[in-house]
């Protein structure tokens, strides 16, 4: 009886996963979708704990350990997820993704140990081909995902720098082949436990070196890819235990994650291959070309900038990563309100990939209660720049770089950008003249209608607020 209930619980959970993902892809239902999937997950977890029977109809034991593990994980997970700043969200996703990968790898380790014991006990080492294949796959994919996610996490919070050297791609391919070859060997002869640890070590190293050369701006794409890897690793567990809910959940995420990765690349107008081995930024030869011949730029004082904006009819704010690091979204909203009181129309132009993750700016500004109608998507904004008196760029760079439109040699050529140069005046707030994440010069800063306003976004916005008030 209980077995049938378990089957039904798993079926229910699988349906909630599909529904949840479906709802997550529409803005109005997204939040509910997340809760639906979470409810399904809880059902699956508790049904497993209380109703699971193994082949000999034995119930699970070690309940103390299981609940202790669940409790510790749940407390740390909730605290970490609640405390993290909005700007650090992608890092958090990467970290949790790594945990899932590690979990899958650990399952493979334990199951292989069981198998080894069985082999030494019975002396028969044949007839395990399918099982060993799944164990090895789960181990390789899980540990690559774990190591890669940890590096991605370190890169996003600035602890790990981009490292690349010639031949790295070849070394990576070599390591992957070694891991797969060793796996194939283990499948033909499973009675060699040390080989499994060798595979584990090579896979971990591969995960590290695979993410190492990829630039920080591309991390969301990489995390999404690793996310789908972990999905496949989870599905391996489903094969191992003939567990349908692990299988559906894992494969679902594997497929959806892969598509999502491709969609993210498309939003940046780049191919996945380009992201993974193009290593943007790291390659200086393509970058310096545009650097030398740039002319001079002009600076604007705070009071002039404040004056310009106070007497404008329409101001467009273009937020970027600089706004996010400075945590200046509230101050930005403040400035918007002050300008609004003075009768200036203020809107925001949101580039889909501004910041470090797609949708970063929407999330950030929504946190500061900026109203939804004021946020314009790229196409709408590009139609409105003509009518703007002032465009205020806050820590955005590559998404407003005209090189994407008119310099075929530029690494970001072809990426859709915000065409801010159509406005009458452009004020750029940056911390310095350093190039942006893609490591390329921005010709916009040297145009006659552009003025630079250096400084930390929050500080500058606060000063602007005071200045505008006193105008």
């Amino acid at each position: 009886m209980s077995e049938h209930i378990l089957t039904i619980c798993y079926l229910l959970a699988s349906v909630t996963f599909i529904l949840g993902l479906k709802m997550l892809s529409h803005p109005t239902t997204a939040r509910k979708g997340n809760l639906v999937a979470a409810a399904g997950m809880s059902i699956a977890i508790f049904a497993t704990i209380f109703l699971y029977r193994d082949e000999e109809q034995a119930r699970l034991h070690n309940y103390g350990w299981i609940f202790a593990g669940l409790l510790i994980g749940a407390i740390i997970g909730t605290l970490a997820a609640k405390k993290v700043k909005m700007t650090a969200m992608p890092e958090m996703v990467s970290l949790f993704n790594g945990m899932g990968g590690a979990c899958a790898a650990l399952i493979s380790l334990v199951e292989f140990n069981h198998l080894s014991d069985e082999i030494t006990l019975t002396g028969i080492s044949t007839g395990h081909t399918g099982k060993v294949l799944i164990i090895v796959l789960g181990l390789i994919i899980g540990s690559v995902s774990f190591a890669g996610s940890m590096i991605a996490w370190g890169k996003l919070n600035g602890k790990v720098k981009d490292v690349s050297f010639p031949g790295l791609n070849l070394i990576n391919i070599g390591m992957l082949l070694v891991a797969l070859g060793a796996g194939a060997w283990l499948i033909t002869d499973p009675a060699q436990p040390m080989l499994l640890y060798g595979i584990l070590a090579v896979s971990l190293l591969y995960g590290v070196l695979f993410v190492m050369p990829i630039g920080g701006a591309d991390m969301p794409v990489v995390i999404s890819l690793l996310n789908s890897f972990t999905g496949v690793a989870a599905a391996c567990g489903g094969f191992l235990y003939n567990n349908k809910v692990m299988l559906t959940g894992g494969i679902l995420v594997g497929a959806a994650g892969t598509l999502l990765t491709i969609l993210m690349c498309k939003a940046m107008n780049r191919s996945l291959q380009n992201v993974l081995i193009g290593s943007f930024g790291g390659n200086n030869s393509t970058v310096s070309g545009a650097g030398g011949q740039q002319g001079s730029y002009k600076e604007v004082t705070l009071s002039d900038a404040a004056m310009l904006m106070s007497y404008a009819n329409k101001v467009m704010i273009v937020p970027g990563y600089g706004l996010a690091v400075a945590q200046a979204q509230h101050t930005c909203h403040e400035l918007e309100k002050i300008l609004h009181e003075k009768g200036v129309e203020v809107k925001y132009a949101i580039h889909p990939v501004a910041g470090r993750m797609p949708g970063h700016m929407n999330v950030l500004l929504a946190e500061a209660d900026v109203s939804y109608e004021k946020l314009l998507e790229m196409e709408e904004a590009n139609d409105e720049f003509k009518t703007c008196d002032v465009v205020l760029i806050l820590g955005a760079n590559d998404v407003v770089n005209p090189a994407a439109k008119n310099d075929p040699a530029s690494p970001i050529y072809g990426m859709p950008i915000l065409e801010v140069e159509q406005a009458k005046n452009v004020i750029v707030n940056k911390r310095s003249m350093k190039p942006g994440y893609a490591g390329i010069e921005n010709a916009l800063f040297f145009q006659p209608k552009t003025a630079m306003l250096f400084g930390d976004a929050k500080k500058v916005l606060q000063d602007l607020c005071t200045e505008v008030k006193s105008v």
Binding site: T48, G69, F96, L252, V253
Partner: protein, 103 residues
């Protein structure tokens, strides 16, 4: 050859599930707006936390004197729970931000 065919028909249920889920996964998120890319990634991240079920099974089956299995299994349960709980909470926090502006 016979082996492969035999394996295929023995596991046909699983193979059906895999193939259908690949299509479902692709169809279901096919037209997601770019604003939702990150929350969707995060939500999918939480869903692959089903791997926790494997960890629970490992833990629950481990003999009480097999310390290696106990320790690794325990670790797996913790990490899996982190993935599930953290994943869903982070996603909810991201989407909370979107709710306000819809009004």
């Amino acid at each position: 050859m016979e082996n492969v065919l035999g394996w295929l028909s023995e596991n046909q249920q699983i193979i059906y599930i895999v193939i259908l889920m690949v299509f479902v996964g692709i169809e279901v998120i096919g037209r997601v707006p770019s604003v939702l890319h990150t929350p969707l990634m995060s939500g999918a991240n939480a869903i692959h936390g089903v791997v926790i079920i494997g960890a629970i099974i490992v833990m629950g089956k481990a003999e009480t004197d097999n310390y290696l299995a106990l320790v690794l299994g325990f670790l797996a349960v913790i990490l899996g729970t982190l993935n599930v709980v953290g994943g869903f909470v982070v996603t909810d926090r991201m989407l909370e931000m979107f709710k306000g502006k819809k009004k």
